[in-house]
Symmetry: C2
Subunit: 321 residues, 2 copies
């Protein structure tokens, strides 16, 4: 499934997205915590997208993409393949506009995820678990229904929507020295970069990536996309390979990509649960893990942390494995 | 250890407490959640004392009590016996005033709780696990040090401090039909009743109590205190018996005491974790369990829920037992 992916969104697209999605999204809070600040000797501002609808920032991009469709396109519905947060985000965004969503999910998707997706009224088609099977099945669904494919992170409207989280953070917290965002496919990071580079150019944006899925780090070092091969990390939201459009934006604006160990991710996640009493998923914990592993670098700084989501299997927590 | 417990605090004491403790406490947020509202057909406002310092409302009362001491009293320090949140709350409150805290803890207290208490600079004395041993040991500590005993829920300044949570809730959310607060010893409930009966007299205050520790329910029915005998519930913060001063206030102002099963408490706790992405302890979940078990009664109402705290053993969650 190809998509015109090289229309790079601008800050105006993010500002437009922000107005467009406002009636549907949660304006999520920015939380702070004294003991964690004391622990690291820096001032941390947690932008809590775990409190976003469907429990993740993904709802911003999906909503912006769905609302950007023409009437004619909207009638045909939207489609995607996803085993995770994007499935639910697109399903709810489509429901809010009163249009159909067709979601291709791998047959090993967990029951709660399938239930949540169908609960928002989406039509789910199961397929085998390979990427090839997912793409082939999606192609068939699109051919049959005429639905518009909304890619989880390469779609420009998805990127612009993702950038609204950093926009809100920057409007609320002035003079940040750094913003740290996780990187998987690069939707959240590239959106964050568009907002920060334009509205807060002195703020350095750093990407947090698990060592076990470090294709963004290697791509950035090499100056060309190096696809992810057998990624392995507890941060299951960051397993995907970087998109081309996302990489273009990242190359231009990112200050640094810092990799962190799964051990630090789990430690950071648990620290946030214990001290802040909020539920964040492993992918989100990467941003605090970056500070944990590089305490001196960040001492005395004001740092915005994009907490991407809070969807966790509560039956089996990472520190219990 | 006796304490003059029959000075019943008034709304003025709560208002004074609110000003006094403001520089030290977190003004906690009131959160709402669309899916939970839809689920129960009512409008719920969660007053999140799990985000309070030390993770529980207890810090309000402890801080008010410590700040209410005369200079002469303060020099002698404060003392209490507690295995739980009150120990840490009093330790931090004392630290903030720069005075000593002597905490008697049963020898089976968990390591993290002891570490947190000593981490705030408190002097911990261990004792056997019976109430008698705790009281005897405390008496010796007080005799030796001259420290002022701060009872976890009978102390009038503790009650007035606890009432500031409902005060903030009422100021933020107008025209609540109900406020539901958990009841154990009765500190939080009696403080809530003082605030609500005076500032929002049309709001009915309901107490939530676990079926397996229903001494408040039985006392309220009988019109006299019936001490707790072998209480057994997952809500470990609600095992203590009702205090006399607390009962006086409860008798006068409570609209109803509703008991709930541990099964409902665990279900409600998990629902909040999953949908709201916040960590609440079983004692806090009792208030939502009341709505869960009495959905029709509360349909269409605006309800404030006092979430008492978020201190949970993350190694072993209630639904994993």
């Amino acid at each position: 499934m190809k998509q015109n992916t090289m229309i790079i969104p601008t800050i105006n697209d993010v500002l437009t997205a922000s107005e467009r999605i406002k009636p549907y999204i949660n304006i999520t809070p920015v939380l702070t915590n004294r003991s964690i600040n004391d622990m690291f000797g820096s001032e941390l501002f947690f932008k809590c997208e775990n409190f976003q609808r469907v429990g993740a920032f993904k709802f911003r991009g999906a909503t912006n993409a769905v609302l950007s469709l023409s009437e004619e396109e909207a009638k045909r519905g939207v489609a995607t393949h996803s085993s995770g947060n994007h499935a639910q985000a697109l399903a709810l965004a489509a429901k809010n506009r009163g249009i159909k969503a067709y979601i291709v999910m791998p047959e090993n998707s967990t029951k709660p995820k399938v239930a949540a997706t169908t609960g928002y009224g989406a039509v789910v088609t199961f397929c085998r678990t390979t990427l090839q099977a997912r793409e082939d099945t999606l192609e068939k669904v699109v051919a049959r229904t005429g639905a518009v494919f909304i890619h989880p992170y390469k779609n420009p409207n998805v990127i612009a929507g993702a950038g609204t989280a950093a926009l809100e953070l920057i409007n609320e917290c002035k003079e940040l020295d750094y913003i740290i965002a996780p990187v998987g496919g690069g939707g959240l990071l590239s959106g964050t970069l568009i907002s920060a580079s334009s509205l807060s150019p002195k703020t350095k944006v750093i990407a947090a990536e698990p060592k076990g899925a470090d294709d963004a780090y290697r791509s950035w070092k090499e100056g060309k996309i190096i696809p992810s091969v057998n990624p392995n990390t507890i941060a299951d939201g960051l397993l995907t390979s970087l998109g081309e459009i996302n990489f273009e934006i990242i190359k231009k604006h990112v200050s640094e990509i810092i990799t962190v160990s799964d051990e630090s991710i789990i430690k950071a996640m648990r620290l946030v649960w214990e001290r802040m009493k909020i539920i964040i998923e492993p992918s989100s914990a990467t941003v605090l893990a970056v500070i944990m592993e590089n305490q001196e670098k960040f001492a005395g700084s004001r740092i915005g942390l994009i907490i991407s989501g809070g969807n966790v299997d509560l039956e089996r927590l990472p520190w219990q494995m």
